[in-house]
Subunit: 347 residues, 2 copies
DNA sequence: TTGTAGGCGTTATCAT
DNA sequence: ATGATAACGCCTACAA
């Protein structure tokens, strides 16, 4: 039963005294015990146990210059984080990977543009060894902040800004194969015999949206601009976009929505307008958020992406970079994870 | 433009030299500047600016014994965190409050029982000044860990275990008025003229579930055990429970589900069995998760709780306790936030 | 009001 | 293989 002499935590010194060795030796044992003779290791371990010694991370950080923590930065003004399990799942993936590597997760939520100052200060302060950042729009100030500070950072989703030519080194990011997935979705619709395929797109300043739009175009010989409407990645936006499309091209026979949420909105409008899904209009979403895709009526055919896996990958990439940091060369690299079409009833 | 002489961050020493004062004075200025003459403050501030000085948190923590960080511990084996925006919203509330008080949020996700060791070590290590914990089941080891370490902790939701009589001090927690809200929901159904009111309950080891069950019973003169079924707080569970109830008491004319998610499952089964909502069976949920309550058909009447507000409150309570910690007496206290019935179309 | 000096708990270098 | 000892960067009596 570890003793805790009321408020005062035991230090290396105390353990050393108890074990009859020097602080240095205790330190060695605590950090793996290489180069210390077995019996001594035993003795020290015992003392540690008896005293309930736990290293003081601040002291350790002060000298090693490593914090053992990374920041996870989520910049989503408001809407998505609420209705979207996306972040929860991705964070879980990240957390698992970090935990396995004995690294802590410091969560930085960006509430508004004014927050960036605070975040810049925090990152500059050396509270963390690296950062994981999400959901950047093209004009996001974060990359420049991280760059200036020289903080190893991995992005979730392909960043929208163009890195200076050859510039400060390539940017590390993890992304799903948005373009390929979109292409597959549309090809599936074509295979179903659909010919007038519309697209409900996400915001133009997010690469996940534009990449999916590109994929949509890839699959079509020529695309009618009237067949594309912006849905803003929200359910409401999806509904609005669907209404617009129906007004512009009443003869459409399929829709590829760039997110499940937007597909749900579209579904509602299609029903309201008396179109049967999939008979009259086939519908494909993107994301495969099971909680929504499985519970729509009809269940949604959609493009699956391994969100938790992407989180894991981001963490792994960062940890690798941090390790190399200790050694020397920093070699950022990026990873694209595959997607796959999940057939349900809507297309 | 703050200079960063390549890798080396400026220290107090450097700033002191630049401003032509002692480290002590710089320290004072950096920490508020009380007891330093104006012109000196100015001079130091300038030097700080020019050098781009940011205090080293590790060094600071080492001497002040405060980390400026609190842990948020979420122990939810798996299911809920995915489909449930509950945590996202609550965390946002917490984050806002912490940020406003210059405190960092360290996220600790519990993946399994084996994780508690790691978490105990982390907390004992003094990485954080306090903790915010969620979603405890009655047998959760966390309270005992926090208690042993003596770490100020605020719980989200009334803890299920009984604190020793007079014991180690009352436990601080923030909770919604689950019982009162449930009572109001059932009374509303009664006011609608319903007489055979069933309840879909949550897991028996969570106080939010049992409190809502108690509220249900409060409002009814006598309760038929056959009218209560366990729905496990999931949509699937809600569906199962609804089916059971319908089998046991085909004549029921109203259902109060202890969560919106379960209500959705119930709604599905009611429809499958040909019952109209609200004509044949009135349905009330709990939570008022807008993304689900508003998009069901018919929209769900439910009990609203201010989730983000609860998060804020938890943080505020903890911060207050931490402040008092510096002074002396620790006085935990608990807060119950009100709920209110939101009438939509399902009842 | 300002400066001096000691110490917070580790790690790391250098002897031994 | 082990032990002194000097940093690490900051705060805070205490002195001036």
């Amino acid at each position: 039963m570890p003793q805790q002499p009321t408020g005062q935590r035991p230090t290396l010194e105390a353990v050393a005294a108890r074990a009859g060795v020097s602080r240095a030796t205790v330190s060695r044992v605590v950090n793996g015990g290489a180069g210390v003779r077995r019996p001594v290791v035993e003795k020290v371990r015992e003392a540690v146990e008896e005293l309930g010694y736990v290293p003081n991370p601040a002291a350790r950080t002060l000298v090693t210059r490593r914090t053992g923590a990374v920041a996870v930065i989520i910049a989503e003004p408001e809407p998505r984080i609420f209705s979207d399990p996306f972040f929860s799942v991705q964070i879980r993936g990240i957390s698992k990977e970090l935990t396995a590597n004995d690294t802590q997760l410091v969560l930085l939520l960006v509430e508004g543009p004014e927050d960036y100052d605070r975040i810049a200060r925090y990152l500059a302060g050396g509270h963390v060894d690296g950062a994981l950042a999400f959901s950047l729009h093209t004009d996001d100030p974060l990359p420049s902040i991280a760059g200036r500070i020289g903080l190893p950072t991995v992005y979730g989703g392909r960043p929208g800004w163009t890195p200076g030519p050859g510039g400060p080194g390539a940017v590390a990011y993890v992304d799903a194969d948005n373009r390929g997935g979109a292409r597959e979705a549309v090809r599936h619709l074509i295979g179903l015999g659909r010919r007038r395929i519309a697209h409900i797109a996400g915001p133009g300043d997010m690469t996940s949206a534009t990449d999916r739009l590109d994929g949509y175009r890839d699959a079509l010989v020529d695309t009618d601009p009237l067949m594309v409407a912006d849905g803003d990645f929200t359910e409401e936006g999806g509904a609005r976009a669907m209404a617009e499309l129906l007004d512009r091209r009443p003869d459409l026979d399929a829709v590829f929505a760039a997110s499940d949420l937007m597909a749900v909105g579209a579904l509602r409008v299609l029903r309201e307008r008396g179109r049967r899904v999939p008979e009259d209009v086939a519908l494909v979403g993107f994301d495969d958020m099971r909680s929504v895709a499985e519970s729509t009526d009809p269940p949604l055919t959609t493009v699956h992406q391994d969100i938790e896996g992407m989180g894991r990958l981001m963490a792994r990439l960062l940890l690798r970079a941090l390790d190399r940091d200790r050694a020397g060369a920093v070699t950022p690299s990026s990873l694209i994870t595959p997607t796959r079409l999940v057939r349900r009833a809507s297309a």
